[in-house]
């Protein structure tokens, strides 16, 4: 390396460093001034009119549905309003009824503009100002809220509230004490000495078993097992049979109700058989009455024990006579033959 090169090397290094830092400084300045060099998107300039912008300032972001789409370029006083010049991404669609509102980015501070794109079918004409909604003064609203609370809670109300709170806390203490002692169902459930929990557990186990059985029954029904299952199946012969049986029953019932048929006529009371049956019934009734009153031979026989005994004795006598006759018949016959032969 020549002496001249060595002498200018520090100068070159210094020059490169200074140039690099100045270039970075220029880039930084351009970016923080609001020029979007990094994204390289096309920008559109819009104006918004506000009655009051609150703490809004230049370079504050502009959001659409939470997405940053631009920034506030300038703020100036107009005729009874504040006019904010906004630079927005050119591809953000704005409708004729679009509005813009000053919003807070966090409770710690910071403001931004929130654009409502609108729902009108017509687009926002070029150069038209977006109507702005007034900024919400959170501190003022908080102050009003505190005032309202102060008015709502008079000292007497606060005392009553405190008394209620005290009562509630005592109730809670009593409740927890009862639970600790094992009183009541909850206490029993929480008590390790009580069997309620075990019983409940057994009951639940039984219920689980029952549920399993029901599941099996349902499965059987689904599979078409049993009468119900067969009935529930759509294409089954049992259903058809039952249907036929019901049709037959319906036909039989119709026949019964039809006076033109014999049974129907019988049920309707139009048949001579009915009159005959009535006559027979009357006769039978008459006979039974006479029998009960002991009229006639049969009635006396039924109601009079002495007659019955006499009849029984007469039968016995007749049987005796017949037996005697049977015993003497050969002798008689022999005698007859003997004497006939003589």
């Amino acid at each position: 390396m020549s002496a001249r090169s060595q002498s200018i090397l520090p100068e070159v290094i210094t020059g490169l460093f200074v140039a690099a830092v100045i270039a970075l400084l220029a880039f930084f300045t351009i970016v923080i001034s609001g020029v979007d060099l990094l994204r390289g998107r096309h920008r559109a300039v819009r104006e918004a009119r506000f009655d009051h912008v609150g703490a809004l300032k230049v370079q504050d972001p502009v959001h659409v549905r939470g997405m940053k789409v631009g920034s506030v370029q300038a703020l100036r006083l107009g005729d009874g309003c504040v006019i904010a010049t906004l630079t927005l991404d050119a591809d953000v669609p704005l409708r004729a009824d679009a509005t813009v509102a000053v919003a807070q980015t966090s409770v710690l501070g910071g403001t931004c503009l929130e654009i409502n794109q609108g729902a009108s079918p017509d687009p926002l004409p070029p150069g038209a100002a977006i109507p702005g909604k007034p900024a919400r003064d959170v501190m003022k609203e908080l102050g009003e809220l505190v005032g309202d609370l102060r008015q709502a809670f008079e000292p007497a109300d606060v005392r009553a509230l405190l008394a209620n709170l005290k009562t509630a806390s005592e109730d809670i203490a009593d409740l927890t004490a009862r639970l600790r002692r094992g009183d009541g169902l909850l206490g029993k459930l929480m008590s390790p000495q009580d069997n309620t929990y075990a019983d409940l557990k057994d009951t639940l186990a039984n219920l689980n078993g029952l549920t399993g059985d029901l599941r099996l029954v349902a499965q059987d029904l689904r599979d078409g097992k049993g009468l119900l299952g067969k009935l529930l199946r759509e294409d089954d012969a049992t259903y058809d049979d039952l249907k036929g049986t019901l049709a037959n029953l319906r036909a039989a019932t119709a026949n019964l109700n039809d006076p033109s048929h014999g049974i129907g006529r019988l049920l309707a009371g139009d048949s001579p058989l009915v009159a005959d049956l009535e006559t027979v019934a009357a006769n039978l009734k008459d006979v039974s009455v006479k029998l009960n009153e002991g009229q006639g031979t049969l009635g006396r026989l039924v109601n009079d024990d002495a007659l019955a005994r006499e009849a029984e004795a007469a039968v016995k006598d007749v049987r005796q006579i017949i037996d005697n006759m049977r015993d003497t018949a050969p002798i008689t016959t022999f005698t007859s033959l003997f004497f006939s032969g003589l």
Binding site: I13, V21, F28
Partner: protein, 261 residues
């Protein structure tokens, strides 16, 4: 302006006289900008000083800025994490570095690295009567020695300050990415979103003023050196201490001027 002086009785009067002498020296050096740019001998010294101040301090400035950014990022992150506001680290770091920490750290580094060197060099020349020899040869020591140093420091301090800020942002972003789960580019984007042109340029102006103060004090203290090698050492120490004080006091008043009035 002659650099030869008579001893002044009394510490207060001596202090006031030292302040006045420093102010006159600084004003004369500031007025000598054309000489630094257009006179060949001055220009060579000027370029040499730019290299010494800028490139010579670069390594120290890089390490200090990187770790300052990382420390700030970590401490602020720990604090903001309690409120789930980790992203506020980028905002806070941007404000802190651009407004105050960048120029302040650059001033401290330059005072320690370059200011002490200036005071030692000029003090040695003074006790060796090289400055007196220059005056005898009708060479203005201010134009020949002070103007290139002061203007080199004044021009290089803002550049180093901005460089310090950028490195600190990178350090903060590194900590944000590794410790706070903030994406690197998002952190840098938040830093840029938080940065205001006023903060940036007031910080650069502050660094330039610090450069003037450091070089003016160091040169004045160096020219006031007496008593041989021991005096050179004392002048070096005094130059660093006075530069630190000037940076702190000057920084406060500049901040007050631009952000309160």
């Amino acid at each position: 302006m002659t650099l030869t002086r008579e001893p002044i009785e009394g510490p207060v009067a001596a202090a006031v006289a030292a302040v006045g002498r420093t102010a006159r020296l600084t004003a004369a050096a500031l007025a000598g900008l054309p000489a630094a740019l257009f006179r060949r001998d001055c220009r060579a010294t000027f370029l040499r000083q730019l290299y010494l101040i800028g490139i010579g301090s670069l390594a120290v400035a890089t390490v200090v800025a990187l770790f300052t950014g990382m420390i700030l990022g970590l401490q602020l992150g720990i604090a903001f994490r309690q409120f789930s506001q980790e992203l506020m680290v980028a905002f806070t770091l941007s404000y802190a570095m651009l407004r105050e920490m960048g120029p302040f750290m650059t001033g401290i580094i330059l005072a320690a690295c370059v200011g002490s060197s200036m005071a030692a060099q000029l003090g040695t020349m003074t006790v060796n009567e090289e400055v007196a020899a220059l005056e005898m040869m009708s060479v203005d020591p201010i134009r020949f020695l002070v103007v290139p140093r002061l203007w080199a420091m004044t021009l290089m301090a803002p550049i180093l300050s901005f460089y310090t800020c950028v490195i600190a942002f990178l350090g903060g972003a590194l900590v944000g990415y590794t410790q706070l789960n903030i994406p690197f580019l998002q952190f840098i984007g938040q830093v840029m979103e938080a940065a205001e042109p006023k903060d940036l340029y007031v910080g650069l102006l502050k660094a330039a003023v610090f450069g003037v103060l450091i070089s003016g004090i160091s040169c004045a203290v160096g020219f006031a050196t007496t008593q041989g090698a021991a005096g050179v050492g004392a002048s070096t120490r005094r130059a660093v201490i006075l530069s630190f004080l000037a940076i702190l006091v000057g920084g406060y008043f500049i901040t007050r001027f631009f952000y309160v009035f």
